[in-house]
């Protein structure tokens, strides 16, 4: 296990390029499912370029924390993404951290996101920060138990080794422990990326916002990095789901053609998961804030059942 600078560069580029694509696909398909045309799939890219060029307006009450928060969110999401196996089983940064470091980095990003919401002294930002920290706190046990279940069957928290273990044993597809961990992680994915039924990413009513409320005062390049960081985080969590539970990632060595094939398979898996997310978002209504813990404790119990299943079915 050492570091390949080329692999780091390649994976960074892939994360930066694919993240807005996934957001665009989800928005477009959700619209199509609701009988609308929807924004084109390339819209998030155009939005990012537009935001980067615009002026930045900062609140008179905000301090330096407001200005560095977008960069922290962006860099933590990107660093976390380098620890996930995307095209190859060996993630470029797997030596520097595995599942636990990834969760920690995303938590660091969320910490600064919440502080950035409180800084401009607006009530909406405070409300968003409060709700975001509460929901992520309730989602953490489910996330940790699901990661534990997967790590126990693979014997390690290193995501590359987990993916490699999956690559070898084809039975894992049918293993109930893995299926339940997958279901629990899917619910946690919805919570962390702020999707219906936990949060509505397309709402314009401030009282129903959670993630969007913390972004209300951001503009220009700060907003660009905030949005990009959020979509990279979404891509990272979706990559964990598709690459740790479904096969198709390459071994370490391979030709350019093999890389191309792996890329295609990865994009197809992502599109499949996006379709599932779109269907769940369209079929369900947003839950009341105090009903969200019920859903997340269901995820916790699912993850616990998955853990039990590792030795229930000996």
């Amino acid at each position: 296990m050492n570091l390949h600078p080329l692999a780091i560069l390649l994976q960074t580029g892939l994360l930066l390029a694919l993240a807005p694509f996934v957001s665009g696909v989800i928005k477009n398909w959700k619209a199509k499912l609701q009988n609308r045309r929807g924004p084109p799939i390339w819209q998030p890219y155009l939005d990012l370029i537009k935001f980067l060029g615009k002026d930045v307006v900062i609140s008179e009450h905000a301090s330096w924390v407001f200005s560095i928060a977008p960069y922290v969110v962006f860099l933590t999401a990107l660093s976390a993404g380098l620890m996930v196996p995307i095209l190859t089983v060996q993630a470029p940064l797997s030596l520097f951290g595995g599942a636990l470091a990834l969760i920690g980095l995303l938590a660091l990003g969320r910490f600064f996101l919440a502080l950035g919401g409180l800084d401009p002294a607006s009530a909406f930002g405070g409300m968003g920060s409060s709700r975001e920290m509460t929901i992520s706190a309730i989602a953490e046990p489910a996330l940790m138990l699901a990661i534990f279940t997967v790590a126990i069957t693979a014997g390690t928290t290193d995501l590359s080794r987990v993916a490699a273990a999956l690559h070898e044993a084809n039975w894992q597809l049918l293993n109930p422990a893995h299926l339940m961990a997958f279901a629990a992680l899917f619910i946690v994915l919805l919570a962390e990326t702020g999707r219906v039924p936990i949060d509505n990413p397309a709402t314009h009513l401030e009282l129903t916002m959670i993630h969007e409320a913390m972004l209300l005062e951001y503009s220009g390049r700060l907003l660009a990095f905030m949005e990009w960081g959020a979509s990279i985080k979404q891509l990272v969590l979706m990559s964990i789901l598709v690459n740790l539970f479904l096969p198709g990632t390459l071994a370490a060595d391979g030709t350019v053609a093999a890389f191309g094939l792996a890329f295609l398979i990865f994009v197809l898996k992502l599109l499949g998961l996006s379709a599932a997310v779109v269907v769940v978002e369209t079929v369900n209504a947003k839950l009341r804030l105090f009903r969200v813990p019920d859903l997340l404790s269901a995820a916790f119990v699912l993850a616990a059942l998955g853990l039990l299943s590792t030795f229930l079915f000996q």
């Binding site: 980067l52 930045v56 009450h61 520097f96 636990l100 470091a101 919440a114 138990l145 126990i152």
Partner: protein, 686 residues
């Protein structure tokens, strides 16, 4: 190992102890000259702590896993009582913690105590500060039960005097008395425990107590364990024995709060480790299970109650309970691994617990010092009256932010590293036993994740409401930056936080002698994955982490935003403007989010635990639609206070009232009692 080494170490320690005494005496003598007292008291304590730090660090670096033999500090006049000290690995580790904090806090106190000059007697503050540090160091160095208990008592008494320093407030007086009573209940249990050990070994020396548990009958051994758990648990602040902590820590002067949260509660951890690993070896499984359960419950309840507080120092006090819980989780897991004969895993869990001990000491002290600076500037502890301090106290805000990131266990700081080690030991623990007890490991891991996330939420609240946004009161608007010595003290601790976070592998070599002494395993070679910068978790093919690596990669990746700025955003401008206030002309501070509001979702989700209660009273002149005054009060029920302590107090009063009948006041009755006792003893002797 140079032959003169033990002598050198002993000299340093003796010099340190003498300096503490000099500090005490000089501070008392110079009571009238405030500034001089401050200089002498904290100068002596700082120098003494520096001596101690040197001695202990060199001891640990040299890798001494066998203790330096005991020597008498000074001859005693009482037979059977020897004031002898010895330095062994565990004592040296904790001694290092107290010395480190002593240095930083002495530097801080120069500026902090100046604020008390003229108002209160700073000589007393300085004297008892020195005594407290002296007694704590002696607790870690004591060689026999007598000396240990004497040092323990002096520590408790000095802490009581310091807690009651601002005794003109009712709150302070009652907190001091509560602390005093709880501390002595714990000490009582300790005395009983030591008596049980004496009964088995016929001596009081700690050397003879080593591995005593094998020679004791199981019932006595278990009873001793429970007594020590109770006694040291009171001092450490485990749930349900924690009620004194949130009362006493906030009312003490801030440097004392930092010392208490940083070191004094760790003496409980020291005692528990000494007793369960060193004295009573070969633990049965239920010891580890009990400690792990108590740790998990303390961690979760501590952080939940911390979220409900809007007094900054009380919030930090509850977080101490949470972190003690996390330390106990590591220790409990280590005990369970010792029972199932996995010494390497036991060493890993023990290292995780001890690493978290020093981490918590450093970042909790840092946070208390920051809270002290805020208190110094705004004269209030209530977060609802603060705000906007990041612009007025920028350096304090930065130090507090780093402390907050560290305590929330976020990479790349030290809290994350020790929690990572704890998770690794819990994960590998799942495979150690086929029984159902192994389910405790992942469930504790899930609860640890919950406390980590709730702690992050709590510190977003603490930092955000205190330092960010607009000032909510005139006090906050008039705040000014802390004096240089206070900043320097905080800076020292911040630097240590960063070092402990970025270089864990190097630090773990300091823990080697400790784990070697207590579990027989040396870990540091197993914890590096081929490179000195990457920490691994001893499992073959297990996970690895490198906080330094992550930081460097993040720094390299920051070239991307820079490049994008140059490409797209060079020509854009930055404008300062007002926050959107929904159409109101000016944004008022009353429109901001409050601390109570921030934690409302948690309060509602866990309302079965909190039982929140709120009351709104309105007054109006001639129509209820035109209210003149609104009074709002909300509070959260303190479950342990109302369900356990209050009924217990009532029961004690009830029994006492019954017993009062015995004191009839007549001489006849008393003579009859004496006569009856005499008859009874005669019968007994027959």
């Amino acid at each position: 190992m140079p032959p003169g080494f033990p002598l050198m170490s002993a000299i340093f320690i003796n010099v340190g102890l003498i300096l503490f005494l000099v500090g005490t005496v000089s501070s008392l003598v110079l009571q009238r000259r405030g500034n001089l007292a401050v200089a002498f008291a904290f100068g002596c304590s700082g120098l003494a702590a520096l001596c101690g730090l040197t001695a202990f660090i060199t001891f640990l670096v040299a890798g001494f896993s066998r203790p330096i033999p005991a020597y008498e500090l000074f001859p005693s006049l009482v037979p059977n009582v020897h004031f002898s000290v010895r330095i062994d690995a565990l004592g040296a580790f904790f001694g290092m913690i107290v010395s480190l904090l002593g240095v930083a806090l002495s530097v801080y106190s120069f500026g902090y105590a100046k604020a008390f000059v003229g108002r209160k007697n700073v000589g007393i503050l300085g004297a008892f500060f020195n005594t407290l540090l002296l007694a704590t160091t002696l607790v870690f160095l004591a060689d026999n039960a007598f000396f240990f208990l004497i040092a323990w008592e002096i520590m408790a008494l000095s802490a009581y005097c310091l807690v009651s320093f601002e005794h003109e407030h009712d709150e302070t007086r009652s907190a001091g008395v509560l602390y005093f009573i709880m501390s002595h209940i714990g000490t009582g249990c300790l005395i009983l425990g030591f008596l049980l050990l004496f009964q088995a070994s016929q001596s009081y020396g700690f050397e003879t107590f080593h591995a005593l548990g094998d020679r004791m009958p199981p019932a006595k051994r278990d009873a001793a364990f429970l007594l020590f758990l109770f006694g040291f648990g009171v001092k450490a602040g485990i749930v349900p024995l924690h009620t004194w902590l949130p009362a006493a820590h906030p009312v003490a002067p801030s440097n004392v709060s930092a010392l208490m949260s940083g070191v004094i509660i760790k003496t409980g951890i020291y005692g528990l480790t000494r007793v369960s690993f060193d004295f009573l070896g070969a633990p049965p499984n239920w010891w580890g299970v009990t400690v792990l359960t108590i740790g998990t419950i303390s961690a979760v309840l501590g952080v939940l109650y911390a979220l409900m507080e809007h007094d900054l120092k009380r919030l930090l006090a509850y977080h101490s309970i949470e972190n003690i819980g996390i330390i106990l989780m590591g220790l409990g897991a280590a005990l369970m691994f010792l029972h199932t004969h996995h010494p390497v895993l036991a060493a890993l869990a023990l290292s995780a617990g001890l690493y978290h001990t020093i981490n918590h000491a450093v970042f909790k002290a840092l946070l208390f010092l920051g809270a002290g600076a805020v208190l110094h500037a705004t004269h209030t502890r209530n977060m609802e009256e603060m705000g906007g301090l990041a612009k007025r106290m920028p350096k304090t805000a930065l130090f507090f932010l780093i402390g907050a990131v560290a305590i929330s266990a976020l990479p790349p700081l030290n809290g994350f590293v020790s929690e990572w080690l704890t998770y690794q030991s819990l994960l590998q623990g799942f495979g150690t036993t086929p029984s159902l007890i192994r389910l405790m490991f992942p469930l504790s891991g899930a609860m640890l994740a919950l406390t980590g996330a709730l702690a992050a939420a709590c510190f977003v609240k603490a930092f955000g409401i205190t330092f960010l946004a607009q000032a909510r009161s005139q006090h906050a608007r008039d705040a000014h930056e802390a004096p240089f010595s206070m900043l320097l003290g905080q800076g020292i601790l911040t630097a240590v936080c960063l070092l402990l976070g970025l270089f864990p592998v190097q630090f773990l070599t300091l823990l080697d002698p400790v784990t070697k002494q207590l579990t027989g395993e040396v870990l540091s070679s197993k914890l590096t994955a081929g490179s000195a910068w990457v920490l691994s978790g001893t499992a073959p093919q297990g996970g690895t982490v490198s906080t330094l690596g992550i930081t460097l990669i993040a720094l390299c990746l920051s070239s991307i935003p820079v490049a994008l700025w140059w490409l797209f955003a060079r020509r854009s401008r930055k404008r300062i403007d007002a926050t959107w206030a929904c159409g109101q002309p000016i944004l008022q501070p009353q429109m901001e989010y409050t601390a109570t509001g921030f934690s409302k979702p948690i309060r509602m989700i866990f309302k079965a635990l909190f039982r929140p209660h709120r009351e709104v009273q309105r007054e109006y002149d001639y129509s209820p639609y035109f209210t003149t005054t609104i009074r709002f009060s909300a509070h959260v029920e303190e479950v342990f206070e109302t369900r356990i302590y209050r009924p217990f107090r009532r029961w004690v009063w009830w029994i006492s009232r019954r017993m009062r009948a015995l004191q009839a006041g007549s001489i006849q009755a008393y003579l009859i009692y004496i006569f009856l006792t005499l008859l009874l003893l005669l019968f007994f002797a027959l």
